[in-house]
Chain length 127, copies 2
Amino acid sequence: MHTQQSANLDKRESGNLIGSDKVEGTDVYRSNGDHIGNIDRVMIDKYSGKVAYAVMSFGGILGMGKDRYPVPWSMLTYSENLGGYQLDITEQQLKGAPSFSDGQDWQFADRAGERALFDYYGAPPYW
Amino acid sequence: MHTQQSANLDKRESGNLIGSDKVEGTDVYRSNGDHIGNIDRVMIDKYSGKVAYAVMSFGGILGMGKDRYPVPWSMLTYSENLGGYQLDITEQQLKGAPSFSDGQDWQFADRAGERALFDYYGAPPYW
């Protein structure tokens, strides 16, 4: 896959880092260019220093009723073409994806909830 | 050490995550309460999803002449008492610490430079 090849090439270069404040606000698209949402923040494991997941939000009017979805970091691939992260997920898959309820912005449930999240995306857990 | 014990206790709880936007702007102090600086951002390894280091800034007037220091994530311990991160580093150590030059905000040199950084702090490298 071309994206993976580019990633491997980049990996050997020094530009392998990205600033958290550059990730925040970045658009998320499907590979066909559909806009899915934006990255609000990344959640960092305080002890291991690993990114647990990114929090993606979309919809909402003036911040009301915004849906927030935790997405495993490994699911997001930066695409120069799209000018944002690529996340290949269907509308149907997104609807069924684990999401935050109100007042739960900072922490996605407990370890069991996190496990369900990574299982849903078929991604390796961060811990 | 008390701080380490608290960290181990917290580790068993679900509140082990912190949002990147909450880290940004957080004050950094010595254990005696001296204010050292603020966290600008954390730098994330795009491929592994590991935090490489935090970028701490201090000084400067209206953003001019600000010094920016990359600090290994593992060196920063959050202190409830201080209301910020604790970094035990002397003025002398800080003066000799690796820092960014202008226009080098996003990436701290190459792997050799990164190795020198982690060696300086005696911290395990992130890669």
